[in-house]
């Protein structure tokens, strides 16, 4: 009996020690948990107790339910996530510095929401042939995708497509009008 009890104690301490030492020796491996800690909904203490402790993995679902309730940050006009247009210079596919905060915000959202999928829709002004403009719009959406990749967003969460000049305002009279047509629209898959 005595023996058995000590054995149990020993096992318990060993488990604890192994867990703690794992934390110590490989701190960087635990990245997903770290990201979760930073998200607002991860204050696990205040979560309604929903049964046994081994349901800790549910937290990701909670974030989704947050996104699904009334105050969707994607549609909140005060949230940067509601901003969806990235504009380009003539004949260029370089993402301008002024659009980095927009991309960072959406990247953060995508990293936090594994299930969210983004479609980047490239557009071009009407000058040039339709097929070439389709490719030009595509190159712009690819350029934006690269920015997302650099911020940790995985390829499987992004599809790049192009509308070419098909959605462009026709018969532009000035450069402002053309400028408005040279853009990438950020659209979520379920929208």
């Amino acid at each position: 009996m005595n023996k058995g009890m000590f054995n149990k104690k020993l096992v318990g301490s060993l488990v604890l020690a192994v867990l703690l030492s794992a934390c110590k020796s490989t701190p960087m491996v635990d990245k997903p948990a770290g990201v979760e800690d930073k998200s607002p909904s991860s204050s696990s203490v205040t979560q309604p107790a929903d049964g046994s402790a081994d349901t800790s993995g549910v937290k990701e679902v909670v974030i989704d339910s947050n996104a699904n309730n009334g105050n969707n940050p994607l549609n909140d006009p005060n949230n940067i996530l509601s901003k969806r247009n990235i504009y380009f210079d003539f004949d260029s596919d370089a993402v301008k510095a002024e659009f980095r905060p927009l991309i960072e915000a959406h990247a953060k959202y995508l990293v936090a929401n594994d299930n969210a999928k983004l479609i980047l829709q490239g557009n071009a002004d009407e000058r040039g042939t339709r097929e070439y403009n389709l490719s030009l719009g595509q190159r712009r959406s690819v350029s934006v995708k690269k920015s997302f990749n650099l911020l940790g967003v995985q390829d499987k969460q992004i599809e790049t497509v192009s509308f070419g000049e098909e959605k462009a305002t026709p018969n532009c009279a000035d450069e402002n009008c053309h400028q408005a047509n040279r853009r990438v629209d950020v659209v979520y898959a379920n929208e």
Binding site: T129, R130, E131, L136, Q138, E159, T160, V161, F163, N171
Partner: protein
Amino acid sequence: MNKLLNKLRPVLLFIISLFASLAISPANAALEIEISGGSAQQIPIAVVPFGSSVAGQSSNATQVGNIIGADLRRSGLFRVLETGGVVNRPTDINQVKYAEWAALQAQALVVGSVEALPGNRLKVSFKLADVLKQTQLAGMEYNIAPNQLRMTAHKIADVIYQKLTGEAGIFASRIAYINKSKGRYTLQVADADGENPQTVVSSNEPIISPAWSPDGSKIAYVSFEKKKPIIFVQSLMTGQRLTLANFKGNNSAPAWSPDGSKLAIVLTHAANSQVYTINADGTGLKQLTKSSAIDTEPTWSPDAKWIYFSSDRGGRPQIYKVSSIGGEAQRVTFEGTGNLSPRFSPDGKFLVMIRNDGGKYRVALQDLTNGQVQLLSEGGLDESPSFAPNGRVLLYATRVGGRGALAAVSSDGRVKQRLSESGGDVREPAWGPLLN
């Protein structure tokens, strides 16, 4: 659906540009000599109004004669004589009094008739006669369904054209184009004269890049109906639709190989546009170009050895060529700010393209034997050039008053005509193959 199509069915009107009105109006017939390009003299021909022994067929008969006359006149190679004042109207060659037609200075004469056959069929017959030699040059009989009447008239015009000029006629061919009207996009097919438009497919999302299969039975096109460009191949007869390419990213710019077994297409997957080949049934995808730039708008040389395409690998879009089995690409065009949309003449000797000269996009024709280039249009945003099957005429899209219109120009640049559609925005024309 049908109702909607009927409502949208465009009445394609020939709105003739200044050049063409000079070319077509018989009052200015003298100027027509300039347009014929090659033949210094137009052939004076009389098309006797077709007759019928049954009163019920007289309007059909009149229509056939009118279509033949209009086709020949529009080619610029014929002077179609007024026959209104002629009393004797033969419907067969044995009734012809040649002296009367010689007096009208006709060199050639067309007579014919339309008769009803049992089972709601029609018999259309015609004879072509040489007035000076007083001999028959050609003659044919067609047993047709009533809805084939117009096409039969075009076929007769082709026979006459071929007999008298030695070249293949194109009146019986068809053209495809996209019509945008009231927010809907419609892929339509019409006779070469713009008449008899039929809707192939319609959508509230854009449709672009229609391409005829070499046998004329199918059209490949790009539809945005799923919020991204996907390539479909649709049978004209059955309306059956095959999703040819629906890969991640864009699927666009279909171009049939000369034998119709493959298509060159453009895919992006997750990166820039690149040219691929794919079997006509959607199998056997193969990447053809590999660059970090845009490679698009592929087209096959008539001998199927080369695929020409546009690419901005050199900073600005220019035309390149690559072997159709793959390899290094070679640049083909060196002049102009940029060159786009290459298409071959049927004999493979010329390349038509859209040339950007300082922001003006125009149709340009390059002689591949000596590299010389001729500008054929003077618009600012001209697009989508394609050759008629006999290589004599080119069809392209232009803008008139802010709206899309179709235009045709002879390959020597002399004859120009414009087709425009009432209330619509017409673009992306493609001239279909000759049908037999």
